[in-house]
Every structure is written in structure tokens, then in C-alpha cells.
């Protein structure tokens, strides 16, 4: 009953939780219908907290911000230590002094991250709409905190919780593993025994916690109904309610014959960037995590603005890349304008009747292109900075003139 716009999406509405509780009161399984697609732990949590729902969501947002603050604080220390180590080893080129991050500029980054998350209009909208995406964000933030602090057990538990909530954080297993390996100083070589030992340990922890959580859910409602209702729903996309993602209109207009094929393609699309990114970014697992979270938020089956708020909170961590970003102005304009146009065109289509679905769909396309180009811009800037760090800032060609750097 809070929804007036689809940005916060039917899938994650608090309304669906209220509906699930009402169905339980009537003696019907909440998963026998098509409205409730939350996990049993959420229904258990809200069984006690439904009267204080607003406070719950405010507290989760604050917890997310605090977790991100602590995580980035620790991360900065790690980055600084690594930087110092590499400078001492003379791995950096001599003229890159201006690219090195100083403690002064890194001091305010954790606070900026926390504020970026809390003051983001997307977060505020998500909180007002009481979207359960906020709870997902909290779990992922705690997972990031646990990973950066180095606790493999907590990291595995939170990752299992995040995967249990919405399948896609499964892909964050790779960056977490890479980070923990780096922290334990285990070299990432396929022949190394300690590498495999640690990987097996972490995988076992993760899978065991996942199994425990799923069995716990079974005992809460005494049925396995929640598996097709939660995970089947995420994977097979039966609900075409308009949201800010790409899936809904695509499958509304898809020919029946190809529906299954394209569902598989779209779902694989979320998961298959993991391995190439792991190979390319194995030295920089936190950036890998950022890119992976962004890919999940853009390509998941029911994206909401809350997911976007999470990866945007990380942008201050890469503020030193600003000088290498190529299209930041136009992309931020695109994102701002599209965010403003979403409710307008939604109203025109659904309430005023003077536009049709294509208008809203066009803004969806533009918004997603904006997000994709933002992420790839940051990725480009990151890689470029790494190149400059090792090869020097002022590059010259063989004949001494100033060089151009291209991606070949």
C-alpha cells in the first residue's frame, strides 16, 4: 500500500510481507500464491517486527552505513600498507608521485562512503517504500566487512545468508576468496597446495552455512514450498511488473518459443562475468567485488533502486580515479535525468493514459546504459591508473614525443 511507483518493485515490497503474514493467519501457506516471494527467515523476522517496520528499515540502513564505514576504514589501511610495500620494492615508476594515495585524502573516505549510502535519494526511496532490498544490502555490507576484516567464517556465513536471500550474491564468492587468500598471503597458483586447502575450507564453510540456513527455513514452515517460490521465481521471471530493469518488457514482448532460451541467456549473463573478472582483477579483489555488485544490480531479474544505492556507496573509494574517467559528466547527467523521468513517465502511462509502455521502457534502457557505461568507465580508469603506476605517468614514444595510450 506504499507503492506509487515501480522503482522499488513488487518483488521486494513490504506489502508482500504483510500479505504473507495475512495468508499465514488464514491458515494458507504464503507460498501457495504468487504475491509472496520472500524467504521464510524474513517472514519469521517480520512476524515479530511488523508493527515497527519503519524503524526496522531505518535501522538496517544505518547498520549498512556503519558496516561500510568500518569496512572501508580497514580497507584503506590495507591499501596504504600495500602501496608502501610496493613503493619500497621499487615496483612503481619514478614519476607517479601524484598518483599515490596519501593518508590525508584517504582519511575522509569511509565517512564519505557512509554518507553516500545514507544520503543517496535511492536509499531514502527504498526505505520509505519499505523494500526488503534494504535487508539484502545490510547482509552484503556485513559480508564485505567480515571479508575485509579477514574472518573467513563470518564472511562465509553472511555470504550464505545473502545468497539465501537473493540468489545472485553467489558470484561474490570469488572476490571474497581472492581477498582472503591475499590476506593470508597464500599465492594464487593452481598448483599450490595451500591455495586448494584454503579454497576447500572456505567453500565448505559457505556450503555448510547455506545448507543449515535452508534446513532452518524448512523447519520454520514445514515445507519445501519456498524453494520454487523464491528461487524458481528469481530464475524463471514469471512476474512482469514493470521495474527499472531490462527483463520485464523483454519477456513481455518475447515470442513464446524463445522464452526459455532468453531466460537462460539473461541469467547466465549475470554469472559469467565472474571468472574473467577474477582472472583480470585477482590482485584487486575489492574492486572486483564492486564491479560484481554493480553487475548484479544491473542484470538481476528484479532490480530495485536499493541495489543501485549499494554499489554507488563505493564510488568515493575510487575517487582517486576521477582524472581518468572519460564520460563522467554525461553519465551522471543521464542517470539523474532518467531517475527524474521514471516517475513522470510511469504516471503518464498508468494514470494519465497519455503515454504508453514504450516511454517508460525507453527510460529503462537509457538508465541501464548509463549504469553500464559508468561501471565500465570506472573499470577503464582503474586499469589505466594501474598501467601508469607501473609504467610511469609521462609516457613517451620511441622518438620522444608524447604518447597516446590505447587499449589493444
Amino acid at each position: 500500500t506504499e507503492s506509487t511507483s515501480p522503482d522499488s518493485n513488487a518483488f521486494v515490497f513490504c506489502v508482500s510481507v504483510v500479505e504473507g503474514l495475512a495468508l499465514l493467519d488464514l491458515g494458507v501457506s504464503p507460498y501457495s500464491g504468487a504475491i509472496f516471494h520472500e524467504t521464510p527467515l524474513i517472514i519469521y523476522l517480520f512476524h515479530f517486527l511488523i508493527e515497527y517496520a519503519e524503524f526496522v528499515f531505518m535501522i538496517t540502513d544505518v547498520l549498512t552505513a556503519v558496516a561500510l564505514y568500518l569496512a572501508i576504514q580497514d580497507f584503506n589501511k590495507v591499501v596504504f600498507k600495500k602501496q608502501k610495500f610496493l613503493i619500497e620494492l621499487d615496483k612503481y615508476a619514478p614519476d607517479v608521485a601524484e598518483l599515490i594515495q596519501t593518508p590525508m585524502e584517504m582519511h575522509y573516505i569511509p565517512l564519505k562512503v557512509a554518507l553516500f549510502y545514507l544520503l543517496n535519494p535511492y536509499t531514502v526511496m527504498s526505505c520509505v517504500a519499505k523494500s526488503t532490498c534494504a535487508i539484502n544490502n545490510t547482509v552484503i555490507a556485513f559480508f564485505i566487512l567480515a571479508t575485509i576484516k579477514g574472518s573467513a567464517f563470518l564472511s562465509a556465513v553472511f555470504l550464505a545468508l545473502a545468497t539465501y536471500q537473493s540468489l545472485y550474491p553467489l558470484t561474490l564468492f570469488a572476490p571474497a576468496l581472492l581477498y582472503l587468500l591475499q590476506r593470508e598471503f597464500i599465492p594464487i597458483k593452481l598448483k599450490s597446495k595451500s591455495f586448494w586447502l584454503y579454497t576447500m575450507q572456505y567453500t565448505a564453510l559457505y556450503l555448510c552455512s547455506l545448507v543449515v540456513i535452508i534446513c532452518l527455513s524448512f523447519f520454520l514452515l514445514n515445507s519445501w514450498d519456498f524453494i520454487p517460490s523464491v528461487y524458481g521465481f528469481i530464475l524463471s521471471v514469471p512476474d512482469l511488473t514493470p521495474n527499472i530493469g531490462l527483463f520485464w518488457y523483454f519477456f513481455a514482448e518475447m515470442f513464446e518459443h524463445f522464452s526459455l532460451f532468453f531466460i537462460c541467456v539473461f541469467q547466465i549473463n549475470v554469472f559469467f562475468y565472474t571468472i574473467p573478472l577474477a582472472i583480470k582483477l585477482k590482485e584487486h579483489p575489492v574492486f572486483f567485488m564492486f564491479v560484481q555488485i554493480a553487475v548484479i544490480s544491473i542484470f538481476k531479474s528484479y532490480p530495485t533502486v536499493g541495489d543501485i544505492a549499494l554499489y554507488m556507496a563505493f564510488l568515493p573509494v575510487w575517487s582517486h580515479l576521477y582524472r581518468f574517467l572519460r564520460n563522467i559528466f554525461i553519465l551522471s547527467c543521464v542517470l539523474v535525468v532518467c531517475s527524474l523521468l521514471f516517475p513522470v513517465l510511469w504516471h503518464l502511462w498508468i494514470y494519465a493514459g497519455s503515454a504508453n509502455s514504450n516511454f517508460y521502457y525507453a527510460i529503462t534502457l537509457a538508465f541501464n546504459i548509463g549504469q553500464i557505461l559508468l561501471i565500465s568507465d570506472y573499470f577503464y580508469a582503474f586499469l589505466r591508473r594501474e598501467y601508469y603506476l607501473t609504467h610511469g605517468l609521462h609516457l613517451t614514444r620511441q622518438d620522444g614525443t608524447e604518447a597516446m595510450l590505447v587499449l589493444k
Binding site: L21, A22, L277
Partner: protein, 538 residues
């Protein structure tokens, strides 16, 4: 009063239910239906095809109401193993027999009510899993549905009362409902044997006022452009009943010609009614003229005919604006001055209108009214509709308002009807109640009472069974653009490809310092042209 199982010889301890006789006499019973009933293990079948909506407040209580469109409800015998399969076959076969699109009945519009639609014939135990109910509100009824219905009659439309049933007059009406009811009944009062009963009903409301030059007089010839000439030779009973109940205790308000041979008084639906009876089988009827043309003339001009307000009536509407959400409201009126009674409300809502049961509110006289029984089965996308059944107590002289909110889903473009902006129909909700009768009804002799009063079994004289239907609703859904499938696929795949392309570039390529190249052919040509122009080379 239903007799206990052990007293009935055809009931074997309730384990196998009724042992219904196989249909073997096709002299009167149509073979198509007989074979159908036997092959699919049907215990009771009720099919109604209706055009129009019965206006209870202006026309009074309907004798037998049916929802707009096609309604089919069937009780299967306990011996049927796969009820869904039998249901599918049954609807397809009936679709062929009645030339109606009953083959569109599938799991998305079939429900299994738990409290409404109890068997009307003999039944031994009621496991509601053997019941199926479906309504097709969009179904149009026309001549080609009437013809097979008439063919089921033993005399067809060649003799008896059915000669009146000509399509061109019957469909010039405000309401047209034809129904077929098959059920097992006791062969006689001692109930030693069971027979199959096939009952065909046709309810038509003619608007003679608008077609009769402003007068409300009617005659068979004016209504049907035909008169009755003889009874069907196969009929054991062939009677015409004309309701001549005096209003406000005044006699001589109307006049019926020819003078009826007998007058029958009964209490029908809680009302004392007087019927003029014309028995087509009595030889004295056709003495004076070869044909019977019953005429009714009003002695005085009728002033705003005040039919008594029915004790129970209801209306339903959808409210809200925009294409996202809406609210269904049902108003149930109990106009009985001092008696309260419960009513069972059955609502079937298609899956694409997602009901929020936590928004269900029932308000009577300003206070919340909690139903004593709720059965709610939520819908599953593309598989089954919502089913909401409630037992609500209606206080005397009250209006009860039941509201529930819903959200409209966006469907796949192939799931819309060819005219998507017409909207989608929500079938009528069903209200079943034992309405307390204003006048006490004494136990009537089933044999003597007219057939139109004996469909619903009555357990005692103080109340009568009523089944009402509310209006069907028309709801608009948001539509995608139907001309755009290729465009959408291309554009969305382009966006995904942009991501793939950018990431591919960044992941597989590395940075290199650009070496000056000699330049390709195009560059050299361009340099030559620039040299001529006097501009520095590239």
C-alpha cells in the same frame, strides 16, 4: 429431509457412494448427454448459458439465476480417479454439443469451491475435491447455442411448448438464459430407486413495454409470434402457468384470456403466488379454438409496478483509478425487517488481478463484521485463479460492504485478447443463502408442485434457498505495445551487448603505447590531398 444412508437400498455403507444406474433408456433422455454422463462418471451437471444480467431490484427475485456468459459446475462420482482430466474432457465434449466455446475452460478459470454449490440431487457425502466450477464471462449466447439445446428435447421444437421457442423472438430480449441440469433423484416418494433427471430451463425477459406501444399487455402471439397447438406426444405433463398474483390484495387488476381451467396457489420464494394453469394435455383446452394464445390485459394502467424488494440482493463494482491498483467492492442487502441470516459468498478472480487478502474488510452498519468461515486459495500465475469463500452473517435490515484491493499484472503480449483495451472480465460472484421466508411455507407435495419450484431442495418450510449472482466486472490491464516485439528484443539485446562489449574490451585487451604507423592507404591519400591544399599532414 435427506434419509440416512442405511435406509436407502442403493447406498452401500458410504464406501463407494451412490451406485447410480447406467443410463440405458434413450426414449426421452438424449443419448449425447446420457453417454457423456456414463462415460465420465458425472454425478451432477449444471450448465447455463446466459446473455444479459438479471436486474433483481426491478424484476424481483429470479426463479433461477445464472451469471452472464457460460457457467458450468459438475460433481463427479467418487469412482473417478483423475477429476481434472475428466473435467477437461467434459468441457470439451459439452463445447461440441452446445456449440459454445466451453473448451476455453482450463485450470486458469476452474475452481473447487468448498462451501457453495452443494449437490442438488441425491448425494452421499460431499468431498469437495469432486466438484469443479468454471465461468466464462465473455461467452456470447446466440442462436447456435439455442438450436442444440432444443434438439435435446424429446419432441425437439416440433410439438409441445417448445414450438414457441423461435430464436428471432427469444434473442430480442433483455435477458436470456438457457440451462441444462442433470442430477440423480429418487424415482418416487419411497426412494427405492434412483433415476437420472435432465432439466432444461429457459429464462427470458421480454420488454413488452418498449415493444408493445407503451402498454404492458402481452400475449403468446405477441411475444413469440406463435401460439400453442398441441402438447408433445411423449410428455406426461405439459402445463402453462401464468402468475396472476394480486398485488396489494386488489382483485380484478388484470385479466387473463382464455379463462384458465384451474388456479394454483403456492408459496414460491417466500411469496404467496397464484398461478393460472393451462394443461395442454386436457382435452377441453382446445375445444373452442385450435390454438392456445394466452393473453394478459391490465385493467388499469399500472403505476410504477412495485415489485416487492427481494430480501437478499447484491451488487458489485470495481473502483480505483489508473492501471496499477483497484478495489473490488460488493454490497449485500438484507431487507428482511427482523431476521438475520448467513450468506456464503464465492468470488473467483483471475490470476492477473492480484488480490491482497490483508486488505479484505467487511463492514456492516459501520462496524467490522468478521466472517465465521473463510476459505482463501491464492492464485498462481497462469495456473489457477483466486478463490475466496466466506460465510458472512447479515444482520436484519442492513447493508454489508466487502472490499478487497488488487494489483493489475502486466501480461505477456500473447496472453492478451485481440481487443485488449476492451478489458478483462471478472466473473460474477455467487451468493448462496437460506433466506427466511416472510410467509411460512407448509410442506409441499413434491409431486403436485410445478416443476419450476422444485430445483432447490428445501429442508423446512421457514426458509428457501436462493443463489444470486452479482454483476461481472470489466477491468483494464496495462498493455505493452503490441507492434514492438522485434524492436524490444533488438534494443534490449543491444544494451546487454554494450555491457558485454565494454567488459570484453577491458578484460581481454591491455594498454599499449601507440606506435606511429605508416598509415594505411586512406591516410596516404588524405595526406596527398592535404599537401595540395597546403594543410599540414595527418
Amino acid at each position: 429431509m435427506p434419509r440416512p444412508c442405511w435406509a436407502r437400498p442403493w447406498c452401500d455403507g458410504g464406501r463407494q457412494g451412490l451406485t447410480l444406474p447406467a443410463v440405458s433408456h434413450y426414449r426421452l433422455f438424449p443419448k449425447a448427454l446420457g453417454r457423456l454422463v456414463a462415460a465420465l462418471g458425472v454425478q451432477e451437471l449444471h450448465l447455463a448459458l446466459t446473455q444479459g444480467f438479471w436486474r433483481t431490484r426491478t424484476w424481483g427475485q429470479p426463479p433461477l439465476q445464472a451469471p452472464a456468459g457460460a457457467e458450468l459446475w459438475v460433481w463427479f462420482q467418487p469412482t473417478v480417479m483423475d477429476v481434472d482430466k475428466a473435467w477437461k474432457e467434459l468441457s470439451n465434449i459439452l463445447s461440441g454439443i452446445f456449440c459454445a466455446s466451453l473448451n476455453f475452460i482450463d485450470s486458469t478459470n476452474t475452481v473447487t469451491p468448498t462451501a457453495s454449490f452443494k449437490p442438488l440431487g441425491l448425494a452421499n457425502g460431499t468431498d469437495h475435491h469432486l466438484l469443479r466450477y468454471a465461468v466464462l464471462p465473455r461467452e456470447v449466447v446466440c442462436t447456435e447455442n439455442l438450436t442444440p439445446w432444443k434438439k435435446l428435447l424429446p419432441c425437439g421444437s416440433k410439438a409441445g411448448l417448445a414450438v414457441l421457442l423461435k430464436a428471432e423472438r427469444l434473442f430480442h430480449s433483455s435477458y436470456h438464459s438457457q440451462a441444462v441440469h442433470i442430477r440423480p433423484i429418487c424415482r418416487d416418494a419411497s426412494c427405492l430407486a434412483v433415476s437420472w433427471e435432465l432439466r432444461q430451463t429457459l429464462t427470458v425477459v421480454f420488454d413488452t413495454f418498449s415493444s408493445g406501444q407503451g402498454k404492458k399487455d402481452w400475449s403468446l402471439f405477441k411475444m413469440f409470434s406463435r401460439t400453442l397447438t398441441d402438447a408433445c406426444p411423449l410428455a406426461s405433463q405439459s402445463k402453462v402457468y401464468v402468475d396472476i398474483s394480486p398485488k396489494n390484495k386488489e382483485k380484478e387488476l388484470l385479466e387473463v384470456t382464455p379463462t384458465p381451467a384451474s388456479v394454483y396457489e403456492a408459496i414460491v420464494q417466500g411469496d404467496k403466488r397464484t398461478y393460472a394453469v393451462y394443461d395442454l394435455l386436457s382435452p377441453s383446452l382446445f375445444n373452442t379454438s385450435r390454438s392456445l394464445n394466452v393473453q394478459l390485459k391490465w385493467k388499469r394502467p399500472q403505476d410504477s409496478s412495485e415489485l416487492p424488494t427481494p430480501v437478499l440482493h447484491a451488487q458489485r463494482y470495481v473502483s480505483g483509478y489508473g492501471l496499477q491498483t483497484g478495489e473490488i467492492s460488493t454490497l449485500i442487502y438484507n431487507t428482511h425487517p427482523y431476521r438475520a441470516f448467513p450468506v456464503i459468498l464465492l468470488e473467483t478472480v483471475p490470476w492477473y488481478l492480484r488480490l491482497y487478502v490483508h486488505t479484505l474488510t467487511i463492514i456492516t452498519k459501520g462496524k467490522e463484521n468478521k466472517p465465521s468461515y473463510i476459505h482463501y486459495q491464492p492464485a498462481q500465475d497462469r495456473r489457477r485463479p483466486h478463490l475466496l469463500e466466506m460465510l458472512i452473517q447479515l444482520p436484519a435490515n442492513s447493508i454489508t460492504k466487502i472490499t478487497i484491493q488488487f494489483e493489475r499484472a502486466l501480461l505477456k503480449w500473447t496472453e492478451y485478447t485481440p481487443d485488449p483495451n476492451h478489458g478483462f472480465y471478472v466473473s460474477s460472484s455467487v451468493l448462496s443463502a437460506l433466506v427466511p421466508s416472510v410467509i411460512a411455507m407448509k410442506d409441499v407435495d413434491v409431486e403436485q408442485s410445478p416443476l419450476f419450484t422444485s430445483l432447490f431442495p428445501s429442508s423446512d418450510g421457514s426458509s428457501y434457498f436462493v443463489r444470486l449472482y452479482t454483476e461481472p466486472l470489466l477491468v483494464n490491464l496495462p498493455t505493452p505495445d503490441f507492434s514492438m516485439p522485434y524492436n524490444v528484443i533488438c534494443l534490449t539485446c543491444t544494451v546487454v551487448a554494450v555491457c558485454y562489449g565494454s567488459f570484453y574490451n577491458l578484460l581481454t585487451r591491455t594498454f599499449h603505447v601507440e606506435e606511429p604507423t605508416r598509415g594505411g592507404l586512406a591516410k596516404r591519400l588524405a595526406n596527398i590531398i592535404r599537401k595540395f591544399r597546403g594543410v599540414p599532414p595527418l
